[in-house]
Subunit: 211 residues, 2 copies
DNA sequence: CTGAAAGTACCTAAAATCAGGTAATTTGAA
DNA sequence: TTCAAATTACCTGATTTTAGGTACTTTCAG
């Protein structure tokens, strides 16, 4: 009898990526793609998750947030090895994933060998990054240690309007708030994100997928 | 003798996507993937481009800008059918691509059938969009008719620093410019993008992949 | 029921942005 | 070489943001 193959599951809303990964592992004698999901909902509905060894998790899903999914998955299945994936990457996102229990992070632009390499090393207990991600990690800028702050409902509303380029007055009118109240929320946002002005706030918010 | 297959070329810096597409068409009797490139440079160095029927073009490339690549490709090979692809999409980008000669646009999250469907219709001379893209197109907001303005070298530099949240003074120091000069460039940027403030500028620039 | 967090609102003043000009010099493509 | 575009720089004034406070009310989970 042969050793059972390592079972891989994929959560990604891009069918092409799923197919590409399936193809990649179809020839492998040690790995197999046992399940694939296009939404977090599908994943959590899956019964046999405890037979899965590795989860490749797209971080920028249309409906769900990969960082939250990672935490939830690790809570339910602590032994499962989770690897984050995305097209672009921001240091803070990678860090957030690791913090939430991911064993590594790879860019989708990684070469095929890198996928195999990272998965095998993650299975051995290492925390692994694809080359490009490693580059980003290495840029240890103290300023980049920013994590994504927890925002209140109001703050999210105001952030959204700031991203649209609305002025304090416009926001106040739109949300039926005093000009001074909006000013306070605005200030709190700058403080929470530890940024100097709204431009940087918008930049950080968009790069971190806080649409 | 059989009809020759439709030849497809792919420009995408994600090996997985390329493999996925190759796989998708490997079983087809009417289509074949004849070439794939990971950068615009590779593509323009390719000799047999005039034998290609369709180019699937990733719009957000690490090094190049898909919109510019599209224009250049269509200039060199007017008969070539170009289809834009990306993970997320903004209306203005889709429009820009069409303006630059693309015959359609698809999200990478499109189903595999959609790829085949869009390619075949594009070959028949139609302009096609995947479902999700069509939804975006349908949102005809006058404000979205903005096209991406052409920026000068200096303006790009300054835009980049604005995105980082730098103040006029910081930018001036960094680029060895007078405060007043930076102010002028800044004003020109706001004017060119037709936005009210830097927050909206940053938002527009990031959403449109002007990193 | 109670306390912490969230939401609301106000005051002041410095700093920066935004918006309207004009104009000289440099650069690069035709 | 020549001319348009780009880059640089300055002036002024209104508007807005940023930064530092304080403080009352509402909401909601424990």
């Amino acid at each position: 009898m042969s050793t059972p193959k390592t079972k891989i599951a994929i959560l990604d809303d891009h069918p092409l990526i799923i197919e590409g990964l399936k193809l990649l592992f179809s020839a492998s004698s040690t790995y197999e793609v046992s399940a694939s999901f296009k939404s977090a909902e599908e994943l959590f509905a899956y019964e046999n998750m405890n037979h899965i060894d590795v989860l490749l998790l797209d971080v920028f899903l249309t409906h769900d947030n990969g960082i939250d999914v990672c935490l939830k998955v690790k809570k339910l299945h602590p032994k499962l090895i989770v690897l984050g994936m995305s097209s672009q990457s921001e240091r803070s996102i990678v860090m957030q994933m690791i913090k939430n229990g991911a064993s590594g992070y790879l860019l989708k632009s990684a070469g095929l060998e890198e996928f195999v390499y990272c998965i095998s090393h993650a299975l051995n207990g290492s925390v692994v990054f694809s080359k490009e991600v490693q580059k980003i990690i290495d840029k240890v800028q103290l300023s980049d240690l920013k994590s994504i702050p927890r925002l209140t409902r109001r703050e999210k509303e105001i952030l959204k309007l700031l991203i649209e380029g609305k002025s304090t007055q416009q926001i106040s009118d739109e949300l039926f708030l005093s000009y001074l109240t909006t000013q306070t929320h605005r200030r709190n946002l700058l403080y929470k994100f530890q940024v100097k002005n709204v431009a940087e706030l918008v930049s950080f918010a968009l790069k971190n997928g806080l649409l």
